[in-house]
């Protein structure tokens, strides 16, 4: 078995070398398909990160009247935390709010002076709430409205930000849907183009296949080396794709980070390099072997 596999791979390699023009063409097309595949991976990563960073910017806050008792706030916080759609609830006390405000405006003397002249802290305590999905903020806002401690709540920021929250919700939704659709569509095109190239390569050798059948070769004797050859297209295409892709990532990574802060392409693809290389090579080999096996089927009917 092992011996046969070795012979098949060896023959596939010899064919790959001897059909050098055809091999180069098929490998080149496949390399482009794989670069596209890697590009789509980057796009997926990019859109996911953009959506996450947009969603992170969205939250709602409930501001409590300055005389609201702390235990009521703690009560509401506990109720919110126990909801399954809530990711985090952050309590900011009046003192904390003031401290934050002071740090934020540390450079501005006028504000500092005005604060110093005040006798009482004018800022309200608040609960800062994040949900799993931006569409759930409306429910949270409603929940706060219906709370038995409604009288202690001064305002809920949702109503001020409602438009923005809705728009971001819609935007991230369509980025997710369209990103995925475009990815699948382009991946399909890449697979079809590769398949067609391999099909033409094999079609070109249909006379050879015919001869092999005439001298009594069984289907596996004919198919094996072609599958191995398809695998070699995949391996070399993956290596070429890497050689093109990584320098490009290195060049554009900084520019993209400048645009969306949370995105660091170089770290993402650099850190995951072994997995990415393995994934691309496996995908290339699979694409080559499957394309060859489908393309050769037609020529093997006795």
């Amino acid at each position: 078995m092992f011996q046969t596999l070795k012979t098949v791979i060896k023959r596939g390699w010899v064919n790959f070398k001897r059909n050098s023009y055809l091999s180069a063409a098929a490998t080149g097309v496949m390399a482009l398909a794989l670069v596209l595949f890697l590009g789509l991976l980057s796009l997926q990563y990019l859109t996911t990160e953009i959506v996450i960073s947009l969603e992170n910017k969205v939250d709602i806050s409930a501001y409590f009247k300055t005389d609201a008792p702390e235990d009521q706030i703690a009560n509401i916080k506990a109720e919110l935390s126990s909801r399954p759609d809530v990711v985090s609830v952050n309590y900011i006390s009046r003192e904390q709010a003031l401290a934050d405000f002071k740090t934020r405006h540390a450079e501005e003397a006028l504000i500092q002076e005005s604060l110093a002249q005040l006798e009482e802290n004018p800022l309200e305590a608040s609960l800062n709430i994040k949900t799993k999905d931006s569409s759930q903020y409306a429910t949270i806002a409603q929940f706060l409205e219906d709370s038995k401690f409604r009288s202690s709540i001064d305002k809920v920021s949702f109503y001020e930000n409602k438009n923005v929250i809705d728009r971001i919700g819609r935007l991230s939704g369509s980025i997710k849907t369209w990103g995925l659709t475009a990815t699948l569509f382009l991946a399909l095109i890449a697979v079809l183009v590769t398949f067609n190239t391999v099909r033409l390569t094999i079609y070109n050798q249909k006379q050879e296949i015919e001869i092999m059948r005439l001298v009594g070769a069984s289907n596996w004797h004919i198919r094996g080396p072609y599958l191995a050859e398809g695998g070699f297209y995949g391996v070399f295409a993956a290596l070429i794709a890497m050689v093109i892709f990584y320098p490009v990532v290195w060049l554009v990574s900084d520019k993209i980070s400048g645009f969306v802060e949370a995105v660091d392409l170089l770290a993402y693809f650099g850190g995951g390099a072994p997995q990415i290389v393995l994934l691309t090579v496996s995908f290339g080999v699979l694409l080559g072997v499957v394309s060859s096996s489908i393309a050769i089927r037609k020529h093997l009917q006795i």
């Binding site: 012979t7 050879e208 001869i211 059948r213 005439l214 001298v215 009594g216 069984s218 006795i302």
Partner: protein
Amino acid sequence: MIEFKKLKKIYAPNEVVLNDIDLEIKKGEFVSLVGLSGAGKSTLLKMLTKEEKPTAGQVLIDGVNLEDIAGKAIPYFRRTIGTVYQDFKLLSVKTAYENVAFAMEVSDATEEEIAKDVPQILAIVGLGDKLESFPDQLSGGEKQRLAIARALIHRPKLLLADEPTGNLDLVNSYDVLKLLVKINALGTTVILATHDNQIVNAVGRRVITMDKGKIVKDQTENGKYMI
């Protein structure tokens, strides 16, 4: 050894290529099959390798009806028959050695057997010094001798030669013919389809003449080319 019984082949819609062929060929015979292009010679040979299926009638080899050989068994069946064609049908990306070796590999011969038999058979057909040449680097005569070497590697009991000299000059044609006669002398049944009268007359064995899908003449001994 070979029997054609009421064999008929009709291509759609109604082109009759073989019409009621009844023929028997004995083991060890050298048969020349002659006739104009389109007489049905090649189709008759293709019936023997199961490249074509009869529309009606039967083909038997050693008593086995070829219809009973199922799809998966066809490769094994073909290894028992040697075939030589006018256009050589060599694998262009393989060397002379690899072309013959391929025919052995498909029947699961070991590397040792291949290394022993292939140079031997190539030496017999006079290509002992061309092991590493590709078909493109060989002359017409050499290509045909290589094809014969490949056909002989399984020691077939039957050798089919379809216009083997059609692409060759006179000298090379006689070389190939001599080789076929030698193979026949060693016990292999040979069927030679050709329209080369000099070749047929030089062999002078059984000559079967075909015309429009029928056998019109069968000279069992000292046959001459007659149409």
